[in-house]
């Protein structure tokens, strides 16, 4: 099944984690489906910025967003709040992928409308592949509101 571009928007500022994630996506042929932005401000600009001739592609809304919490400029929770208050992104599933396992972050993320909360995994055997599994779930199994 041919997938439209930008199925997954990955909001991640850690270059190590990005490298590992993209390698995993590449190995499973999903590289093309993943768009990366490096912080909350860039994500906001990408998803909710003004429509211009230059950024027409930005009208494409991802089917799932992987969101890191600890980021420079606009942090993950703040971005999540913005996404949930905008009609364009209100219904897009957001999976928080973070190194934080603090209960307060978990609770706050769900309160602000996250659909899932995942603590970053370190895996010697299959590094980063948990992200592929998550992407597959949201892209192949999950039924989103149209």
């Amino acid at each position: 099944m041919a997938r439209p571009k930008f199925d997954v928007l990955m909001v991640e500022d850690d270059s190590n984690d990005l490298l590992v994630a993209m390698r995993a996506f590449r190995r499973h042929g999903l590289e093309e489906n993943v768009k990366v932005v490096h912080d909350g401000a860039e994500a906001h600009d990408y998803l909710l910025g003004q429509d211009t001739a230059q950024n027409g592609e930005r009208r494409l809304v991802p089917r799932v967003i992987f969101l890191d919490l600890k980021m420079p400029k606009v942090d993950g929770l703040r971005l999540l709040e913005q996404l949930r208050s905008h009609p364009r992104t209100r219904a897009v599933p957001v999976v928080v992928v973070t190194s934080s396992d603090r209960e307060v972050d978990v609770r706050e993320a769900y309160r602000l409308g996250a659909n899932s909360f995942v603590v970053k995994q370190f895996d010697l055997e299959k590094p980063g592949e948990y992200l592929v599994d998550i992407a597959r779930y949201w892209l192949d199994l999950n039924r989103a509101a149209s």
Binding site: D14, N16, D17, V20, R23, S99, S100, D101, R102, E103, V104, K120, F122, D123, L124, E125, K126, P127, G128
Partner: protein, 540 residues
């Protein structure tokens, strides 16, 4: 006639006092107390005493005079029932009738301050004056602009009068000085116990002893009935006056107490004493205030420091976890993508890098879990502990199928607790018990019982046990009683268990015989006996 005038004067004053409105009473109490004291002093002046004695000798030979005194006394008592009340109460003498005694006691009881309402005695305390003398006084509640209502001692001169009386030989009434209801001194008709000089020596001692002090002045009912020797009449008059003064001050005290005000000062000595006391009290209060402020500040600083340490602990563990995780990931990628081109040595080193990084991440996970165990909020509710432990056993059995048959669950009382934390406590204790049970099949027993104000739960195994000498190290962070080679783990599990239990207001402890298994106990307070706080401490 001097004493007759004295009596008349005293009673005139007393009658005036009776008529006073409360406000006037407050305003005039100082002057009257002072005046009464002077009257008493005058009445028992040595010269007057001789005159009285002579007059008494004469009157004794004159039955009419005696009858006249008796009728006068009865008349006084009839006119001034509160005096009668005081005079009729006597712990040794016989009151005129039983009903009268009860009535009299009740009347007197109404006069004394609330604090000693159970006793007809007047509570006083010894105080030291500026010149070093010791005197007894009646407590008077006072209030100044800068202080809360408090009590000072206001009765001074009557103490002097009392001494005079005692020195001349008390008759017709008794004076008892009590400390915490034990009688220390007693003046009785015809004698004094101990001797007067001892009395004042003892007063010095009394000053250093702890209150409450009580002086009970009890004119006898027999006096009222007459038929006494001359000195008895003197004593009657003096007793009346002392009674009047005591009654006055008790009344003032009562009124003042009820209104929470009035400052009573009798003389310059006392004023000075009060001034000193007030200054001292102010100093003490200021010192106490400073001390309390400092304690509060230190506590705040300490809590801040603890908070900082927790945050530091968390950030270090958290921030190191990511780079260590990256080491694991890239070691994995290196091995996976380039393993074929590495020789055996290189692969060995890579394996060591991975293992170390994994160990570090596991350690940090433990630290984070420990840190979180102190930060999480408690969500208390009724928990079916048996249900909970069965759940824990089933979860453990998913990983270690043996666990299902190894864990025997006995009676477990329901508890008021945070179920998620209790789940972690039991998971930790039971998996520890399984881990340290080397010989299959493992035998782990879980049980509990109620005891006094707490519930006790335990997890018992037949495993390797531990040396009780090191029991104190069991619950510390990163403490291990076995080498990592023997048993896996990072020494965080029991520290977390301990913290979770303590946050519930409970205790944790363990018993073991090396090689013969161990039992871990923890307690939870029953619902009524606790006040659980979220910061790891408990107030009971």
């Amino acid at each position: 006639m001097v004493f007759a005038l004295g009596v008349a004067g005293t009673f005139a004053l007393w009658r005036t006092i009776q008529r006073w409105q409360d406000a006037e009473l407050e305003a005039n109490a100082v002057a009257v107390a002072s005046l009464l004291a002077q009257v008493i002093e005058a009445q028992i002046d040595d010269h007057d005493l001789d005159a009285l004695r002579r007059w008494a000798d004469l009157s004794e030979r004159d039955p009419d005079s005696s009858a006249s005194w008796r009728s006068n006394a009865e008349l006084f008592l009839a006119n001034y029932p509160s005096f009668g009340a005081i005079l009729r109460v006597d712990d040794r003498g016989r009151p005129s009738d039983a009903a009268g005694e009860t009535e009299a006691r009740d009347a007197l009881r109404g006069l004394v301050p609330e604090t000693s309402a159970h006793s007809p005695d007047v509570s006083v305390g010894p105080i030291r004056l500026a010149d070093g003398r010791v005197a007894f006084g009646v407590p008077i509640p006072v209030r100044t602009a800068t202080k809360e209502p408090h009590v000072i001692f206001a009765l001074l001169e009557p103490a002097v009068a009392l001494r005079r009386l005692l020195e001349h030989g008390a008759a017709g009434y008794s004076v008892r000085v009590l400390c915490q209801s034990e009688e220390l001194f007693r003046a009785v008709p015809g004698g004094f116990e101990p001797r007067p000089d001892q009395f004042w020596k003892n007063a010095e001692v009394a000053l250093r002893m702890s209150p409450p002090w009580t002086v009970a002045v009890h004119p006898t009912a027999m006096l009222v009935g007459g038929a006494h020797q001359g000195p008895g009449i003197v004593a009657l008059i003096a007793g009346l006056m002392i009674s009047a003064l005591v009654a006055l001050l008790v009344h003032v005290s009562r009124v003042a107490r009820a209104r929470g005000l009035s400052l009573v000062r009798v003389d310059a000595d006392l004023r000075e004493s009060i001034g000193e006391t007030e200054r001292e009290e102010t100093e003490v209060r200021e010192l106490r205030g400073t001390f309390e402020t400092r304690v509060t500040q230190r506590t705040a600083t300490l809590q801040e420091t603890i908070g900082d340490l927790e945050t530091f602990n968390y950030s270090v563990a958290h921030d190191l976890r990511s780079p260590m995780g990256a080491v694991i990931n890239f070691a994995g990628i290196l091995e996976h993508d380039y393993g074929a081109s590495l020789d055996a040595n290189a692969r060995e080193y890579l394996g060591r890098i991975s293992a170390s990084a994994q160990g570090a991440v596991a350690l940090m996970n433990g630290l984070l879990a420990f840190s979180n165990s102190g930060r999480e909020e408690l969500h208390m509710r009724q928990v079916d502990m048996r249900d909970l432990v069965e759940g824990v056993r089933d979860d453990l059995a998913a990983e270690k199928p043996d666990a299902a048959s190894a864990v025997q669950i006995g009676a477990l009382p329901r508890a008021y607790a945070d179920s998620s934390m209790m789940r972690r406590v039991f998971t930790n204790l039971i998996s520890n018990a399984l881990k340290f049970s080397r010989e299959a099949p493992a035998q782990v027993e879980v049980g509990g019982y109620a005891q006094a104000n707490e519930l006790i739960y335990y997890v018992r195994d037949q495993g390797v046990g531990f040396d009780m000498r090191y029991a104190h190290k069991l619950f510390g962070v990163f403490e291990r009683l076995h080498s990592r080679g023997e048993f896996e783990g990072h020494g965080v599990g029991l520290a977390i268990v301990s913290r979770l239990v303590r946050r519930h207001g409970g205790r944790i402890w363990a018993q073991s015989v090396l090689g013969k298994g161990a039992t871990f106990f923890f307690s939870l307070p029953t619902r009524g006996s606790r006040d659980v706080r979220g910061d790891g401490t408990t107030q009971v």
